[in-house]
Amino acid sequence: MGPEMSANSACAFYDLDGTLVSTNLVHTYLFFSRNQPSALRTLFKTAGGIARIPAFAVVDRVNRVKFNEMLFSLYEGEFEDRLLELAEEHFEEVYKPNIFPGVYELIQASQRRGLRQVIVSGSLDFVVRPLARHLGIDDIVTNRLEFKRGVATGKLVPPILAGANKARFMQEYARTHGVDLVESYAYSDSYSDYPMLAVVGRPAVVNPDKKLLAEARVFNWPVLDLR
């Protein structure tokens, strides 16, 4: 799947939410919560999710890892096969209409350059996979839900992929696949991904938040608007 890897080959690493698509982890949770087996459960899950949004917003500002833990705890009790089944529908309904228009051009230009395409995201593996297939992404590095006997425990398989951990995952990925990080590209929209951007030789910020834009100006990082 994707270009053949050679020694010193380079990658394009993409954050997902806010970078390639305009949705975020909460949209994904709300999709699954409103697609429950019963109407009562749908109401309960959706209302619970919406009620927590202000708390999510506060925690996200303070600690991205904690935010992920809080959000994914809502998946507790979900059946694995059901989540996998709904993942394609989630892609069609949530991701596909919200892919930024410039994403296709960027990935195509990057592929022409011979870069290996990798999504590095705090989202869940099964929701990212259909999107990756659609965009021609070679690899995904994502969070994974922990399942026991086919039921989600509401915990993530550690270590949780967020903030500085993204950079560590990318370094590990580079070591494993013989990737030259200095020649690699990384794209993100959020200041929380600063480590991910700082670890490659060719970072660029995409539709950046205010704080990241300020950093990008300081370091002369290119600023892209894919909207």
Binding site: G102, L106, R112, R217, V223, L224, L226
Partner: protein, 555 residues
């Protein structure tokens, strides 16, 4: 009529007043050594009294083509292509000449039942113009009618937009925009600010892509231009002509070319267009107060101030029809406005570098562009022979801040800070780095969706300076506010003009011939060599031919 030398050439004596020299967004006001020759542009030629009538006349009496109205039939598809914001400089006072021409063209098209019309900006790898800039260029009415669906920037990275038309006899790729390839008629609306503009360059270069540009935007071609402003002796023009002729074989192009006068300055900056010997007390006062005000302002405010002052250019000629005969007529007018007869070269030339170049309208003149203004434009503003002798010293004035526009010139930052410190050799830069920049997906996306120059563009700017770099012995920059920018450019630095002149004596001879080129406004020196200079030049050319260099061509 080309003025005699005495109208444009001043020799400084002990009573002469100081001269104004541009230095970015500021001015120096300097006494020059006695004996210094100062070259001034010609005064602005008189504008055509009724530009609209002149445009209509040109459309109805074209050269080498049927009149525009005779080529029209209801239901046909027409694409109107125009030059981008790099012309004219600074932007002209409204209405822009493109608005005038396109308004008349649209009226004629409408009268003949033609309404399938697209407007296309021939920006090649230049940055896309913003909607407000596009509106300024064509006016509110045309903008509202066509933008955004039928008024677009050329996108050299859009594979669906580029159509291959073939190759020239020398294998140069010929490409164009799909809107032109599929149109029954293409109308090109040009502004010829200098003789290197227009002609086949408009369609052949303005609507191609990176691969198409490789044929001529390379170090070898640039070195073979003597000069860019003399199309007959410019390999860049030759290549553009070969490509454009193939374009003309495939497309029906109705070319409209215009020449403007050089009335660059309006009030309150009118004094800048005058010889200081002719300044009134009011001019002196206006200059001093402008200078005082500028000193108090931060650079960004000064920049904004200057970019907001449009030039009251006037139309001096308009011709329409087939590309080549139209261009020849316009070139004659260009030279009539710009050519200044000059006898003999100089060991040292002095000039200011202003705040603007074709590549930083509404933006920053970054160090790479400062370089292209000195070695690319100032050096090449000649016909016949350059004002500066081979091996001479060029003194330019500019603060050289290490400042770049991150949205317009993102690849320039990397080029300047990563590539140039490794090598200043254009052939090496071309070989080692150019393709990498041209295929950088971030730069491509910033060019396509943002307002960035293409990743390869800073390389062209560096090659543009190659001819000058290969002939000029030393460049001294006066007033650079840091050490590293001149060092990276390979230039010397002097704190004052007097210091620079003293330094130049070490590089040339104890009593050098000094010439100040008093630009802007634009002028082209029509240099006639003295017999001695001609002999020396012939000898050097013969020596140069005996030491051929291995050159790459479009690889």
């Amino acid at each position: 009529m080309i003025p005699r030398e005495k109208d444009n050439v001043v020799h400084i004596d002990s009573d002469s007043p100081p001269r104004v020299i541009h230095s970015g967004e500021d001015f120096l006001y300097e006494h020059l050594p006695v004996g210094t020759r100062v070259l001034y542009p010609n005064p602005p030629m008189k504008g055509l009294p009724n530009p609209d009538a002149a445009i209509r006349y040109a459309l109805n009496h074209p050269i080498g083509k049927e009149p525009l109205y005779a080529q029209l039939r209801p239901g046909m598809k027409v694409t109107i292509v125009m030059d981008d914001i790099s012309l004219p400089l600074p932007q002209m006072k409204l209405p822009d000449i493109r608005e005038r021409i396109i308004s008349i063209v649209l009226q004629i098209l409408g009268d003949h039942g033609v309404d399938d019309i697209d407007l296309l900006i021939a920006n090649a790898l230049h940055r896309a113009m913003s909607p407000s800039e596009m509106k300024r260029m064509v006016g509110q009415k045309i903008f509202d009618r066509f933008y955004p669906k039928h008024f677009i920037n050329h996108d050299a990275e859009d594979p669906h937009a580029i159509v291959n038309l073939g190759e020239t006899e020398l294998g140069e790729l010929v490409k164009t925009h799909r809107l032109c390839a599929e149109a029954d008629l293409t109308i090109y609306v040009n502004i010829n600010l200098v003789p290197m503009d227009g002609g086949h360059k408009s369609m052949g270069i303005g609507l191609t892509d990176y691969k198409g540009l490789l044929a001529h935007h390379n170090p070898k071609t640039m070195l073979e231009c003597d000069s860019y402003m003399d199309p007959k002796k410019s390999e860049l023009a030759n290549s553009g002509n070969r490509i454009g002729r193939v374009v003309d074989e495939h497309l029906n192009v109705f070319h409209i070319e215009t020449a403007l006068n050089n009335r660059m300055y309006a009030a309150p900056m009118e004094f800048l267009g005058k010889n200081e010997d002719d300044w009134s007390e009011l001019d002196r006062l206006a200059f001093q107060s402008t200078r005082w005000t500028l000193k108090k302002l931060p650079r960004s405010a000064k920049r904004e101030f200057f970019h907001k002052i449009p030039s009251p250019y006037e139309l001096i000629a308009v011709f329409a029809g087939a590309t080549e005969p139209v261009h020849e007529r316009i070139l004659e007018k260009n030279y009539e406005q710009y050519a200044v007869p000059v006898k003999g070269q100089a060991d040292v030339i002095i000039s200011g570098i202003p705040y603007i170049s074709p590549y930083n309208v509404n933006s920053i003149l970054n160090p790479v562009l400062v370089q292209v203004m000195a070695l690319g434009y100032l050096y090449n503003m000649y016909r016949g022979s350059p004002v500066i002798r081979d091996g001479g010293t060029m003194i330019v004035c500019h603060p050289c801040p290490d400042e770049f526009d991150p949205d317009h010139h993102p690849s320039y930052i990397e080029f300047f800070h990563r590539c140039l410190p490794e090598t200043r050799d254009s052939f090496e830069l071309h070989k080692r780095f150019e393709k990498e920049f041209a295929t950088n997906p971030t730069y491509i996306e910033m060019y396509r969706r943002g307002n960035a120059y293409h990743g390869a563009h800073p390389f062209y700017m560096w090659y543009w300076g190659d001819r000058g770099r290969s002939r000029v012995g030393n460049v001294i920059v006066v007033g650079a506010e840091n050490e590293h920018v001149p060092r990276i450019l390979g230039w010397h630095k002097a704190d004052t003009l007097q210091d620079a002149i003293e330094m130049s004596k070490d590089f040339t001879r104890p009593n050098p011939d000094i010439t100040m080129v008093h630009i802007p406004p634009i002028m082209i020196s029509d240099v006639r060599l003295t017999d001695e200079e001609q002999k020396a030049r012939d000898l050097k050319e013969a020596e140069r031919k005996l030491r051929p260099r291995e050159l790459v061509h479009g690889s």
